[in-house]
Amino acid sequence: MNILLEAIDLLRTVVGGLMRFIDTPLLAYFVLINSSYLLLMILALADIAAQRRRAAWTDHEASATSPLVPGVSLVVPAYNEEAGIVASIESLLSLRHPRHEVIVVDDGSSDGTFDALVERFDLVGVDREVPTDVPVRAAVLGLYVPNDGRTRLVVVRKANSGKTEAVNTGIKAATLPLIAVVDADSVLDPDALTAVTEPFVVDPIRTVATGGVVRPANGCTISSGRVVGVDLPRQWLARIQVVEYLRAFMLGRMGSSKLGGLILISGAFGVFRRDVLVEIGGYDVECIGEDIEVVMRIHKLYRSQRRDYRVTFLADPTCWSEVPVSPRVLARQRRRWHRGIWEALWKYRGMVAQPCYGRLGFLVLPWFWLFELAAPMIELGGLAVVLLALALGIVDPGYAVLFLGVAYGYALVVSMAFIAVEEIVFHRYPGWRNLAICLAASILENFGYRQLTALWRCRGAWDGIRRAQPEWGTMTRTGFAAADQVAEPPLPPLPRTSTMPSAPALPTVSRRDEVA
């Protein structure tokens, strides 16, 4: 009994000391991280205002047909996407852009993904070698084009080897100067492609990559591969992600872009110059967070060679993508994302505080280390100490509530500021109900969601540190072929000229991960 009491006394001393030592720095950390988000928002607002002004003076009809706009190859990696692949490809083919092609890379699907494409587009095999300018280990099994000779679609079939290799295969097969990587389960706004490629025509010499906004598609009405009605999801887990995407993935990235330090373009919707991707050797198949890694590599190459370039984020072009609605899938996603951030930051740790990388080395990367990578550890650690101190009676409950109230209250204020910007500038979610839900979600986010995601992110970083085998998973997709979709009649079949045999059944070596 005495030993137990002594242990508790020791614990009280340690936790008490820890509490005295960390309470001010912890609060300062919360203030700093949230203030940095506010600063990014202010920077983003300046850029959004300029973009909006210019958009009002731009002839959008002309941009959608201008010969000056460079062609875009939309690379769509697909693995077991039978449910929605046809609607998705039809939607991509009908985007408003003067010159674009769609390259579907069937990454060894074991379902009817390929058959669905063959049936809809009347594909025929072409015995064409895919260029080798980007290294890919998996074998290309066949290349197929529509028999009508005019639909700008290429389907590349390859042995299953993961999304990154599928994207690299698509880059190899692409024939146009720009590459847009789009997830097969994503839906782009009709003008999104024209809008996201605009920086390449506005500043053709310097622009090397651009990114658009990814918004949750859950709850939206999708017909014929188009978002025809925007609404919030029905599940609170997805609703909270709407607010989170708004804060971190839209205005946050816009602010980083304004600083000249955008290091993450979402894998669900980014455009790159093909020659740049070839020059850097394509996406890194070894890195879990291939989307952040590829942008980091571009920065490193261009800055170290002192080449003038721009990586731009745009707030208007929108890609709608399904977000996880089950905690299990969300956990897997967040672990993977955070592991990706860890791997990329660790790989490029040498860029930090190096003069040749400018703001990137002195501002953006330290920010990512301190406020993105370390944030979940610090948040959970701080929370644990406060709760322990509360349990041991070191701090009184009133003080603990105040402490946590200020820490999470500032985060709430930041989220509300982002919602206000969304409402004033973009107003994509109509109806008072949606506004109320957004505000409620920004409050609810602080009760459990933040803490859980912080835990999952910690585990992701730990997985990265110990180089654990990546845990792949699948996300149940509803597909975008909604009941209201009016299927177009199939194109009239023409006699086949190809003698290429049909591709063999493919072995599946791994399962693919989900979403955005």
């Binding site: 300029a50 064409r128 000779g149």
Partner: protein, 366 residues
């Protein structure tokens, strides 16, 4: 701890107050927007049929125009944005009619006065309206605005000059595509796209200025000039392009110049373009040269492309196959012959012919 407790209470109170303000701001923003949209829709709805009649050119008796010209100032202020939006979409007589409508309500006089306003947003809006109204009287002022301190004003001035379409201002527009005095390294006066679109609107009248700009020291100016010469099909630019191709340092401008020589050049360009087929030349330039030779389409060009069907670089080999496929009979004969060979060239030729047949069936290719 008492001191810090006080601070925490003060902070929490401040945060709650800010959160409340943000909620009020958000709700107010939505209320204001809804109210404004409804009011605008009500007024514009009342006059929409008149506007559409004018914009579609069906207002032959000018009844609709007269009714719009007689609007009270309060109603005109609400209809004006719709007129400006329509003006951006129409050309010819309807554009003149809508421009006259702006004039009769004093918008053009006001806009001319605002071109020298101290506020950049006002200058930009004024330049926009004058451009849409194709107001030639303001050409000198708009040209001056190409050197304005505000990027927005330069942007709108360039676009408005394109809408007016006077080729005499093209040298100034081309200069504005580059780095203007006092600007940071790499920054340009006018975005390349806006300048190029405006120059293309000016038509062949600006081709001499474009040809001259191809030798500019500024890489951004050269890039715009090459793009405009290519897409405008300016024959005057072919000579300078031949000279500039050799000295050009920017790879993508070099590719544009090759495409220009391919589409507008002739047999004398074949040796120059063929020099870029060497294996040591970067692949994008090799592919651009192959595509350009395909466009030249002479037997000599075909002969230069033929060996590349067996090139080590598959992307160049594929480009060679596709270039031969678009050359017509000469190229297709070479591809057919290559199909009897062995190795890579047989496969490349077969694929290119296959795709060409599909496209021909679709009526896209020669």
């Amino acid at each position: 701890m008492t001191g810090s407790r006080g601070l925490l209470v003060a902070s929490l109170t401040a945060l709650i107050a800010v959160a409340a303000v943000l909620v009020i701001l958000t709700v107010q923003a939505r209320l204001v927007r809804s109210h404004r949209d409804r009011a605008l829709a009500a007024v514009q709805g009342r006059y929409r049929h008149l506007l559409l009649e004018v914009a579609s050119g069906e207002d032959e008796d000018r009844r609709a125009w007269t009714e719009l010209a007689d609007l009270t100032e309060a109603n005109w202020r609400r209809v004006q944005p719709a007129v400006v939006a329509l003006l951006a979409k129409v050309r010819g007589r309807p554009a003149q009619e809508l421009g006259a409508l702006l004039d009769v309500h004093g918008e053009l006089v006001r806009a001319r006065a605002r071109l020298t306003s101290g506020l950049a947003a006002r200058r930009a809006r004024a330049a926009y309206v004058l451009g849409l109204a194709r107001d030639r009287d303001c050409l000198p002022t708009l040209t001056t605005l190409l050197g304005d301190a505000s990027g927005d004003v330069r942007f709108v001035a360039a676009r408005s000059l394109g809408l007016i379409g006077e080729p005499a201002v093209s040298p100034a527009l081309l200069t504005a595509c580059g780095q203007l005095p006092g600007m940071r390294e790499g920054h340009t006066g006018v975005p390349a796209w806006v300048a190029a679109e405006s120059l293309l609107r000016m038509g062949a009248g600006c081709q001499d200025a474009v040809a001259a700009a191809m030798t500019s020291k500024d890489v951004h100016v050269r890039a715009v000039a090459a793009q405009v010469a290519l897409h405008g099909s300016f024959p005057a630019a072919v000579g300078p392009a031949r000279v500039c191709l050799l000295s050009e340092t920017e790879p993508r401008t070099k590719e544009t110049l090759m495409a220009l020589l391919g589409s507008l050049g002739d047999a004398q360009d074949v040796p120059v373009l063929a020099a870029y087929l060497h294996p040591l030349v970067p692949a994008p330039l090799r592919r651009a040269a192959v595509a350009a030779l395909g466009l030249v389409g002479t037997p000599e060009a075909a002969a230069r492309v033929q060996p590349l069907l067996a090139d080590e670089d598959r992307s160049v080999a594929t480009a060679a196959g596709d270039a031969l496929a678009v050359m017509g009979t000469i190229g297709r004969d070479i591809l057919t012959e290559a199909m009897t060979a062995t190795g890579r060239q047989r496969r490349v030729a077969a694929a290119s012919l296959h795709l060409a047949r599909l496209r021909m069936r679709a009526g896209e290719a020669a």
